[in-house]
Amino acid sequence: MTHAAVSICPFCAMGCTWRLRRDETASLLGEAAAPTLDYDLDGAGPNRGSLCAKGNMSLELMTHPRRLESPLLSEDGRTRPAGWDEALSFVVAQLDRIRAAHGGGSIGMLLGPQLTLEETAAALRLARSLGTAHVDLCEPGDHAVLSGIAYSAARPARVESVEQLDTMDALLVVGDLLTLAPCAAKPVLDARYRSRRNTVAVLAPNRTKTAWFGRPALPCVATGEAPALALMLALALEAAGPGGPAWADAARAHLARFTHGELERRSGLAQASAAAVVRALAAGPSAGVLLAGQLGATARLDLVSGLAALLAEAVGARFLAMLEGANSHGIRAELARAGYAGGAGYTTPELLEATVTGDIQALLVFGADPVAAFPGLVAGQAARTAALLAVTAPLPGLTARAAHVVLPSAVFGEKSGSVTGAFGGPSRLAAVLAPPGRARPDLAILEALDAAMSAVAPAAPLAAARARERPDAVDGFCRELDLFLAAETREAGACEPGTHLLLAEASATNAAEGALTGQLSWARYAHPEPLLRLSTAHAGALGVRAGDRVRVRSNWGQAELRVRLDASLPEGIVTVPHRDPAVRGLLRWRRESTVRCLDLRPDRVSLERVTEVERA
């Protein structure tokens, strides 16, 4: 008998569908056949039958050899498998103790971007019975985008379906959309080729997969996305004349502090090109601003996404924010609906800092890996200092390694529920396979915890939300923008000859981004070799051409890397993808108990060209 059902791709917010099939008839050897993945579903879902490389390899997640199959308990530095009852009663006893001693406000909850809407609701119920307001989405990029949009107070019309994208004739794409969501390529390229009059402008500092198709491509300098969008917004508000949306006057007054020439210099984008794109967006009967929530580490994602949303509203274009987590949009909306977003409790970075200072005693992490996602020291320290760290995870990540309790959970294809992707509107996913071993879906774990906590003690009243300075929406956003624009670019000129400033890029390439994607062999498949990005001017001085190999020496180690030239990098700055094992020796590490933490502050390195003779 064959069992098949439609599920959703967990690797971005596009919400592509695929059909998972499992043959229940045992083979002659008595083994069940391996499950198979079908993608050509005659056009169901936004992917219309196709599936990107990540989606194609998603079956690997279900059949991964390192899947966690039973709860793990850590005692005195030793980890041992335990039963569910033992693990859950340990968590409940610890939570009860901490709540009695420090109150419900000392418990924090982090939600991974792959939880379903049902699981999010269950997590919020648990938060209420624990009496804590500190619940947040744990995905650095998605978090920044969503808070930026919320903070800017923009209310642009949303792109509601992929069919709406099909008819657009003016698009502004910010960032590398086709790398984050390759399945969005069809409508974008259709707009590109349908008519010679169509505009598909791509704003990005380097030549990405998406910028390659831009008409026009708008290259800006590194960190130039926000000033470029500010310039476009200023031009759009000028063209529209007085009036407009509620925030228009405040934004106009603020942007008047910067001359167009200043914004032009800061972004590296010519005013004429910016004006042409704004005209095309405002004139088109259907226009859109598409934001890829994955820019280089040097970009301020919150400012960029807020400005993109403001621009979309100013020119009357539809807006789409493509995120990395399949349900990040949905989780954020659920949090906002329940009153948890917008300053009620700590946000994820604040929560991690509060754990280090001892303000937060217990950290419950559901389907996320904060130590990997926030690779600075804070997350590692938080994992070490928390009196209780309980993690649900399908695969052992860095956070799971430091946790007191690890509860094995299910991935998409093994659990049913609904998610809300970038287009809004929930879509259903069905369970086809059973989770491996004794693993359970997060929903079952959350409900068991909630039931046990309610049995131990009645729900405490919600801890009073900490009053925090939240400036008025648009003004606050503008002030942030002000600080950012006024800041000088970098200490570039301070580099001595032969010395460079090394930046470890978190997300300039999509290699191994995110806790789940990083586990797939896709990560190595899509990016077989880590590249060192070097500014063109410095490469000339070193006598290095694109594709040459250079030896990079830092205070911590050395590595030999191939060079990719990038005209947009400020002089004296080189970047490497920090998640790559080949470059990790170069970076500063600190051991925090059981966890090694990356310190991502810029570091001095020296470069030296590797000659052919040396290699031979």
Partner: protein, 166 residues
């Protein structure tokens, strides 16, 4: 899997250079669909593009002519196939192929060779790489020349408009 299709198949995989984004979904689909053997090699063009390079299934295949054991042959349906039992993994085909579509790395001691997903084509389907292509660059089309059709050059659609790419 049938050894020979009931009819000659004249459809071939064609790549539209104007649309390929280099996402490598085609290679991943091939990898997953052929038990972790990637029969589709990526061509890296001077650090600016990654394009799939497909087997042309030539009328007079150089790989088959070079194969010392007769493992490579052109079957009655017009597909150039490789017998897993006869292949000794000697790399001769990979050297002989003028398009460089047979990779050097062996998997399970045999040379990876595109079979045009014969299991799907026999059921009226299309190859996995074409089905998975997320940008619509790959198509599985009749190669009969007809009026108004784009011109095919070496299995690729020649650019239909002169477009300047910045």
């Amino acid at each position: 899997m049938p050894e020979v299709l009931p009819r000659v198949v004249t459809r071939r995989i064609v790549l539209d250079l104007d649309r390929c984004t280099g996402c490598r979904a085609c290679g991943a689909a091939c990898h997953v669909g052929h038990h972790d053997q990637t029969n589709l090699v990526p061509g890296v063009v001077a650090d600016v593009a990654i394009l799939p390079i497909h087997c042309r299934h030539c009328e007079r295949p150089a790989c088959a002519a070079a194969c010392p054991t007769g493992a490579l042959y052109r079957d009655a349906s017009g597909f150039v196939r490789r017998s897993e039992l006869l292949c000794i993994g000697c790399h001769t085909c990979s050297i002989a192929c003028p398009f460089g579509v047979i990779p050097d790395e062996l998997k399970r001691h045999v040379a990876p060779k595109c079979d045009l997903c014969v299991d799907r084509v026999v059921a009226g389907g299309i190859p996995r790489c074409v089905a998975s292509c997320s940008s619509g660059a790959l198509s599985f089309v009749e190669l009969e020349p007809s009026a108004g059709a784009p011109e095919y050059v070496g299995g690729r659609i020649q650019s239909r408009a002169i477009v300047r790419r910045a």
